[in-house]
Symmetry: D2
Subunit: 496 residues, 4 copies
C-alpha cells in the first residue's frame, strides 16, 4: 500500500448540483469549426437542458461567427433546446461560474501540422495523421502542454469545480497535463474513435446474424489502452460474444483484402479518401494479437508502426490507408469556416440532425438527468491493472450526477500491453520533461524512444528533432531551446 497524498483523484464535483435549466458552458476554443458546429446541433436537439454557451477564442472573430451561428440555429423551428450563444474577449469571463468547460482549441495554427507531417517525411517517416504519436504527435504535445497547464490553472482559479470536457488532441497529453497541473480538476478526455469499433461490430452483427444493423449503443465493449490505441478484449451484442463472430466474418470473401493506391485516391466518394476507414489494419492486428483495436486505421498505424515500414506509401496503401496530405488539412480548415457562413447565408442547406457525439448525454448525466456508461480518458486509479498509476488511460466509466467512475477493464494480453506500456512510458517522459523545467534534452529521450523514430540512427533523429524544433520555434517558447545540448549540436537548428 502506498500513500495517497499526491495521487490524482477520481473526478467528483463537490459543488451544488448543476441546474439543468440554467447551465453555463464555457467554451475555450470557441472559434473552433467542426466541434462548435456539432455542439450547436446537439444542444439545439436536446430537450432537457437550457442555458448559455460562452465562447472564448484567441481568434475572437471565429468565436463571434460561432456566436452568430449558434443563435441563428436556435431561431430555427426544429431547435427544441433553449440556448444563448455569446462570444467574449476574456477567458476569465468564459470560465467564471461555468458548470461545464469545453476544451477544443485549434491552437496552435494548422500550419504547424504541415511541419508535423512534412519534415519527418523527409527523413523517411511517413506518418498517417501525426496527432498522437510519432514525431509529429510528440511535437504537437510539446506545443500543447504549456497551453493546457495555463488553462488548468485558470480553471482552478475561476471555476474549480466545473466539469472540464476536453476534445483537444493529443487527448492523452492534454488530459494528463490538466491533472498534473491541478490534481483536483474534474476533467474528462473525450474522443469518438471507440465508437468506430462499435459501428464496425454493429455492421458485422448485421451481416452475421442477419438482423437490422443494431445501434452502436447495443454493442457492449470492454475497452482499455491509451487514446487512439485502445483495445477491445470483450464485445457482445444481446448476450452473444462477438470476437469469435469477427473471426468468422473475416473469413468471408472480400472482407480481408488488399488495396491499391489508385483505388484509394479515387475521389468519387463523398468523404476525403484519407478519412475513409477500410479496417484492414484493424483486422490484421486482431488476427495477430487476438484482441480488437478500437480506433481508426490511420490512428492505429502511428502506434503499431509495422504498417509504416518498407515501401511507402504503397505498403501502407495496401492496408487501405491513405495518408492525409497536409495541404488537404489546411484547405479543409478554411472550407469549414466558409461552410458555416454559407449555412447562414442560405447558400448551403443546413440539416439539424444528430452528430453522433455524446456530449449532451454526458452533460445530462453529470447534471443528474440520467445515468450513462461510455469510454473516457482518465488518470489510472486501478481501471487498467497493468498500466502505471496516474498515467491517463482510456476505459469505460459510469457517469452519474456530479461523478465519473472508471470501470475495471482488467488486463490486456502481454504482447499488446507491451505496446501500450511503451507508448505510456514515452508520454510520461514528455510530461516529465515539461513539468521538470521544460527540459528539451529529456524530451528528446522520449522522442528517440518513439517506435517511428527508432527507424533512424540517433544522430539523424537528433537532426529531425532539431529541424522540427527550428521550424516551430515560435510555438515552443516555454521550452528553453537555446540551452539544449541536443539542439545546439545539430546543424538543423538555428536559434532565432
Amino acid at each position: 500500500m502506498s500513500g495517497t497524498t499526491d495521487q490524482q483523484e477520481l473526478p467528483v464535483s463537490s459543488e451544488a448540483p448543476v441546474d439543468p435549466d440554467d447551465v453555463k458552458i464555457g467554451y475555450i476554443g470557441g472559434g473552433s469549426r467542426l466541434w462548435a458546429r456539432n455542439l450547436t446541433k446537439e444542444l439545439a436537439l436536446d430537450e432537457t437542458m437550457s442555458g448559455e454557451v460562452v465562447l472564448y477564442d484567441t481568434d475572437h472573430e471565429s468565436a463571434q461567427r460561432n456566436e452568430e451561428f449558434g443563435n441563428w440555429v436556435q431561431e430555427r423551428e426544429d431547435a427544441v433546446g433553449d440556448w444563448t450563444y455569446r462570444a467574449v474577449e476574456s477567458r476569465e469571463e468564459a470560465l467564471t461560474d461555468a458548470d461545464f468547460v469545453i476544451l477544443s482549441t485549434q491552437y496552435p495554427p494548422t500550419e504547424s501540422m504541415k511541419y508535423d507531417l512534412e519534415i519527418p517525411q523527409e527523413y523517411g517517416i511517413h506518418q498517417a495523421v501525426a496527432i498522437t504519436s510519432g514525431p509529429g504527435g510528440i511535437m504537437r504535445a510539446m506545443r500543447t502542454i504549456p497551453v493546457y497547464r495555463d488553462i488548468a490553472a485558470a480553471v482552478r482559479e475561476h471555476c474549480p469545480d466545473a466539469w472540464v470536457l476536453n476534445y483537444t488532441n493529443p487527448v492523452t497529453y492534454v488530459t494528463r497535463t490538466l491533472y498534473e497541473e491541478y490534481p483536483d480538476i474534474n476533467a474528462l478526455g473525450l474522443c469518438h474513435e471507440v465508437f468506430h469499433a462499435q459501428e464496425l461490430l454493429a455492421e458485422i452483427v448485421e451481416d452475421q446474424f442477419d438482423v437490422p444493423k443494431p445501434s452502436r449503443d447495443e454493442i457492449e465493449v470492454n475497452v482499455q489502452g491509451v487514446n487512439h490505441f485502445t483495445w477491445v478484449d470483450e464485445a457482445s451484442w444481446n448476450g452473444h460474444e462477438l470476437l469469435p463472430v469477427v473471426e468468422q466474418y473475416m473469413e468471408k470473401d472480400g472482407v480481408v483484402r488488399e488495396y491499391t493506391q489508385s483505388e484509394l485516391e479515387d475521389t468519387s466518394h463523398s468523404m476525403h479518401p484519407g478519412f475513409q476507414d477500410n479496417n484492414q489494419v484493424t483486422y490484421e492486428l486482431f488476427k495477430r494479437f487476438g484482441v480488437l483495436p478500437a480506433a481508426g486505421d490511420r490512428h492505429l498505424v502511428e502506434f503499431a508502426t509495422w504498417f509504416l515500414q518498407e515501401d511507402m506509401p504503397e505498403d501502407l496503401n495496401r492496408w487501405g490507408v491513405l495518408r492525409t496530405p497536409s495541404s488537404y488539412r489546411l484547405a479543409r480548415w478554411d472550407d469549414e469556416a466558409d461552410t458555416v457562413q454559407q449555412f447562414m447565408d442560405g447558400e448551403k442547406e443546413f440539416d439539424l440532425s444528430e452528430t453522433g457525439e455524446v456530449i449532451t448525454e454526458l452533460m445530462e448525466a453529470l447534471a443528474g438527468l440520467s445515468d450513462m456508461r461510455t469510454h473516457v480518458n482518465l488518470p489510472n486509479n486501478g481501471q487498467m491493472l497493468d498500466a502505471p498509476e496516474d498515467a491517463v488511460v482510456e476505459t469505460n466509466a459510469v457517469v452519474t450526477q456530479n461523478n465519473v467512475r472508471p470501470i475495471v477493464s482488467g488486463s490486456l494480453p502481454r504482447p499488446v500491453q507491451t505496446q501500450v506500456t511503451q507508448q505510456i512510458n514515452n508520454q510520461e517522459t514528455i510530461i516529465e520533461a515539461a513539468f521538470d523545467g521544460y527540459d528539451v534534452d529529456y524530451a528528446f529521450q522520449g522522442f528517440l524512444n518513439d517506435p517511428q523514430v527508432k527507424t533512424l540512427q540517433t544522430e539523424t533523429a537528433r537532426d529531425l528533432f532539431a529541424e522540427m524544433c527550428n521550424a516551430l520555434q515560435p510555438l515552443l517558447d516555454d521550452w528553453n531551446l537555446g540551452e539544449s545540448e541536443t539542439l545546439n549540436e545539430s546543424p538543423k537548428f538555428d536559434l532565432e
Copy 2:
C-alpha cells in the same frame, strides 16, 4: 507489469445468453429457511422470467418442504411469475445445465455456531455475531472452505459457465475459495449489509432535507472494503454530497447517544433486540475516521474491535449493540421451519411482498433484460487500489448481460485501509493454509493475528484454538488435526 497467467478472471460467461423464459436455477442449500423463502417471494413477483428451481440439500427433507412451499406460493393468484420447484437428491442434477446456481447452505449445523460464540467467551472474547471475523468467524471459515472447494469443483464439472450467486457466510472466504479452486468461475459474493448504509442515509436525507424518505436506490454510494467491513467515502442524493450532511445530523439531539443494557433487552420490539441496529458504532467510526462504515453495528465491532474491549457486555451495550445469544439462533432456526409449514397450513398469514433482496434484478440483468449497478464481492482486479490483487473485496459493479465488471473505488484513507488490509491478510493466511495442504499450524498463525485474539497471551490463544478445534472435530476432517503441533501441545485438545 506482471504476467497474468494465474490471475483470477473477471466474471463473464461465454455461454449462449440465458433464455429468460426458460431459466434453470440450481439451489445448493435448497433446504435453507429464510433465504429460500425470500427467493420464492421474489420470483413469484417477477414478471420477466420463468423457469425451474431445483433444490438440493444434504437435508433432503428441508429441500422437499421448500419445494412444496415454492409450488404452493406459485399457485397463489398474486404470483405473477411462472416457476416450478423441484427437490432432488443429487447435487449433479441441481447443477447440470443450470443458468444460475444459488449457494446458501446452512452447513455446518447451527450447533457449531454455539461453539463459535460460547467458547471464546470463556476466554473473555465477546463476539457479537462470530460470522466473518474473530475466533468464531475463522473457525467457521475453516469448516466452510473444504465444502466450497468441493462445490466449485462440481460447478466446473457440471455447469462451468453458470452464474454462481453466493449468499453463504463468511462471504469473503467462500467467494475467495470458489475462485481459488476454479479461477474461471462466474461467481458473485452477495450480501445486503451495504443496503443498511443506504437506508440510514435515506433516513438522514428525509430528516435533513425535509423531503419524503427517498428509496435506497436514490442514494448513490461509493463502497470499498471487505464484506461486513465496507466503507463509504462518497455518498450523494440528487447531486448533494451526503457525508457532510451526516456530520450535521449527528449534532442533533438524541442522534448520538448512549444505551443501557436493560433498554436494549426490552423485547417489546417486534425484532429481536440483537438485530436492532442503533448505528452508534457507525457514527463513532465515522467521527473518528471521516468515512462511513457500511454494515450493521454488530458486524462492525468484530473488525473494529475497540468496541469489544473493557467491561463486557456493558461497554458494548453502551453503543446500542446487544450480542446475539446462540440460544436465540437455534430457536430461530426451528421457528423458521415451523413458519413455512404454518403458512401452508394457513395458521399464519403469508404476505407475498418484496423482501428487499436484489436477486431477481441481478438475474434479470445477467439475462440481458436490464442493466444494474450494485455492490458485489469479487477478486480484486484494480477496483480497490490499495488491496492485494486477487483478494476478494466488496465494491460497486456494473451488471450487464452475461457480464459483471467492478467499478473503480479508489483509495481509503490510510488509517482505514490499514484495518482492512490487516483483515485481508488474515483471510489470505487462512486461505493459504487450506489450499496448502490444510495446514492447521499455519491457520493458527492467522488466528493469532486476529485483532480479537490479540487480547490473549499466545498460549491462551493456542488453548482457545485447541478447544474450538476439539469441539468441532467432526466438521474439520479435511484439516489434519492430529498432526498439528499447536493442537497437540495444548491440554484442551484430545483427538477422538
Copy 3:
C-alpha cells in the same frame, strides 16, 4: 512502473572522498552520556582515522563535559587514534564541513519518558520500554519529528553531502523524517538490537556444535522488518543453516522455561534486571511463526502485543521480561553523568576497551578504508519486497566508499509480514499527520490503530491520548493541540 521523481534516493555522497587523516565529526546531542562515551572509546582505539569531534548540545554543559572527557581519554597511552574534542555553542559550527554527523539526542528530557510509561499504565497498558511503538512510542515520535525536520533542514544547508548517522529513537520515525524533509540526505538509521540475535545464535552454536563461541560477525543473518521488530529468516554459521539448530536447542532442558517476578527482581546481577534478556519471547515467536525475531524481548513485546495481555505484570514476567521502571531511567541518567566525572577524577577505573558498536567500522568503510556488511534502516527501494516504497525498513546493506546499498531481503511469511505492515502503516500515518500540517486528529487515528491501544474503547483511547498530550504540551508545540477536535472533546485535556 511508476515515475521516480519524488522517490527517496539511496544514499550516496557526491562529495570528494573523506580524508581519513582529517575527519570532521559533528555530534548533535554531543552532551549524550552513554553514546558519546562509546564513541570516544571506539575512536581512541581506531588506528586508521584522525580528526576532530565537534560536540553540540542544547545542554552545553554536558557537551563541555564530553569535550573534557574525550580529550582526557586521548591523553591516555593506550589511545592509538589521534582525535580532538571541541564543544561548540552553535549547531551550524558543528555541521559546517562535517564529513559525518552523529545524531544521538536525549531531547526531549527524560521526564517525558515517565509520562510515556506511566499514563498508559493507568489505562491498563503496560508497555515494556515505550520507545518505538505503543502509546509512549507514538508520543515520543510526535515530539521527535519536528526536532529532526529541523535538523534535516540544517544538514541540507550546512553539510548537504555529509553522512548522517542516526542513533536517536524511535529510529524508524527519525530516519523517515530525515528523508521526508530532505530526500537527498545521506542518512543511516542505526541500532544494535540485531547484534543481539547474532549473539544468541553464537551461543547456540557454541552449545550445539561444541565449539568455542564464534564472534557475532561469523553468524550470517538475513534480516528484514522495522527497527526493533526485525526478523531473521535465514541464519548460518560456517555454511550450516542455524534455524533448525535453534529448534533443536529449544528442546534442551531449561532453555524454554517460565520465570517468576521475584526471580526477575533479584538485583544481585550486575545489570539492572529490566535489561537482562531471557529470550523467552524470542523463542515463543520463533516457535509460532518459524522465523526468528532479532531484537531484545522487551522491545518485541511492544509490537507482538500478546505478551502484554491478561494478568499484568505477572503474565509478562512469566516470559522473563521485567518492565523498566521510569524511576530507574531517571536515576541511570544522572548516574551516567557522574560516572564520566568519576573516571576523570580517578574515582572509578576507566577501561579503554571495545564497546561492541560498529560506528568506527562504518566510518572507515564510508571513507574507503574497507568494505562492510551490516544492517541499517533506510527507505525501502526494493530491499523488502512486500513493504511499501519509501517506508523505512531495516535490512542488511553493503557499505563501501561514499556509498550504502541495501541487500535484497526477500519476503517474510505472510503472518509475520502482516504484523510488520500494520506497524509500518501506523508509522506512516503519524508521519503523514506531521508533514501534512501537524494534524493532531489524524495522528490520533494512527494512535487508535496501535495494537496496544486496541485494547481500549475508542473514547478511552481518546482520553489516554488527551492526557498524554496534556502532560507533554510544552514538547508538542509544533502540533496545533488547541484546534484538535479529539483533544477538545476529552475531559483530560486542558490547553495551557
Copy 4:
C-alpha cells in the same frame, strides 16, 4: 502485499557446506571449447580447492578431449590446484552429488547460428551477433528453452541443492527457464560483459587521473538491466564519482570519433575485428541518456536498435562496429578444437595464466572461503525496483557461503527503463509461449514486438519467422510447428 507462494526464491542452498578439498563439478556441455579451457586454467591456478570435474556432452568425443586436456594441464608444474577430469556418457553421472553444475552448452550446433544471422539479413535486418535479442536471439531462445527445462528437471532429480552456474546464451532466457521449471534451483546466470565497462572505466581513470591503470575490481559500479543490456548509473574509483569523468574524457580529441568500414576490416590486429570494441555506441548512448551501458557495442546495438538502421552496414561501421560474419564463427569453432590438440601436441605454446573469468572466486565464495561482490542474473526480488517480479535481471549481488543475495540497484531513468522493460516483456512473452504449451503463434507475437522486427510489415515479419522456423525445424520439435496458424499461412514454411 501479494502472497509469495509461487514466487521464485532467492538462491540459498540448504545442503551441508561444500568441502573445498573434495569438490565435485558437473559440467554439462563439457565438450565446450573456450569455456572448458578457461575453467581448466582457472582451476589449475587455484590453491584453495581440489576435486573432480565430470564432463558430460552430447558430443562425447569433445568431452573426452577436454578430459585429456584437463588432466594434461594438471600434470604441469605450474598447476597448483589438485583436480581430476573425467568424461562420462550419462548426464546423471555428471550431476549426481555435484556441488557445482556448470552449464555451457554449444547446443544447438553452430550451423544454426548461420541461419540466425543470414536469414534476417535477407529481410534487411542486420544483426551484429544475434545472441540475445532480435530475430536470431529469439530463435536461439526458442531452441534453447526446451533443452534447459530438461536440464532443470534433471538438476531437481539428481542434485537439487547444487549451485548451477550458467554461462549459456541467451543468459536471460536460460536462467529464466531454469527458475520457471524448478523454482527452488540455486542457479546463477553469469556473463562477463559488465567487466567490459569496468575495464573501460579503468582506462579512463588511468587517462584522467594520471595514475597506473587500476584493476577492474577497484572500479565500483552499480549495474541494472537485462543481460547484454545492463546500465551503470553510478561508478566510482577511490571515492571519486566517475560518470562526470567519462563526460570529460569524451571531450578529448579522438575519443569520440567515426570509423570507416575499411579501417575496421583491417585484419592486422590480433583479435578478429568483429570482436574489437571501439566503445562508440557506448559513448553515444551515455551522451543521449546520461547512464553508461555495460556491454560490448556489438551487443548493445541489438537492443538499442537505432544503430542498425539506415544504410547498412556502413552506418553501423561508422560507430566502430563490424558485424560478426557467421562464416567466421564456424571457422573459429573448429580452430578452437585444433588449438587444444596443438597445445597437447606441443605444437602451440600453452600459457597457464588467468583468464579474467571469476568462476573460481565464485566457487570459493560459495564454499565459504571468502566473500565476494559481483554482478549476476537472477529473478527479480526487489533488486530492480521498476522491473516485474520474477523477470531475470542483472544486478550486483553479495556471494557468501551457500548464499547469493542481490543488492538493491534502484531505478533507471525512465527513458532507459522503457527500453529495458520492452525487452523484458518480449522475453516474458517467449517464456510464456514455451511454458504454456509451446505456443508458436504466441511466440510470434513476441517476435513481432522485437524492435528489430518492427522495421518490417507484419506479413513480412511472418515470412521471416516462418523461414527461420522452417530452416531450424529439427531443433524446434518441442514447438508444435505444424499447428501454427502463423506458419501455415506463410509461403516460406513447409513442414517436413
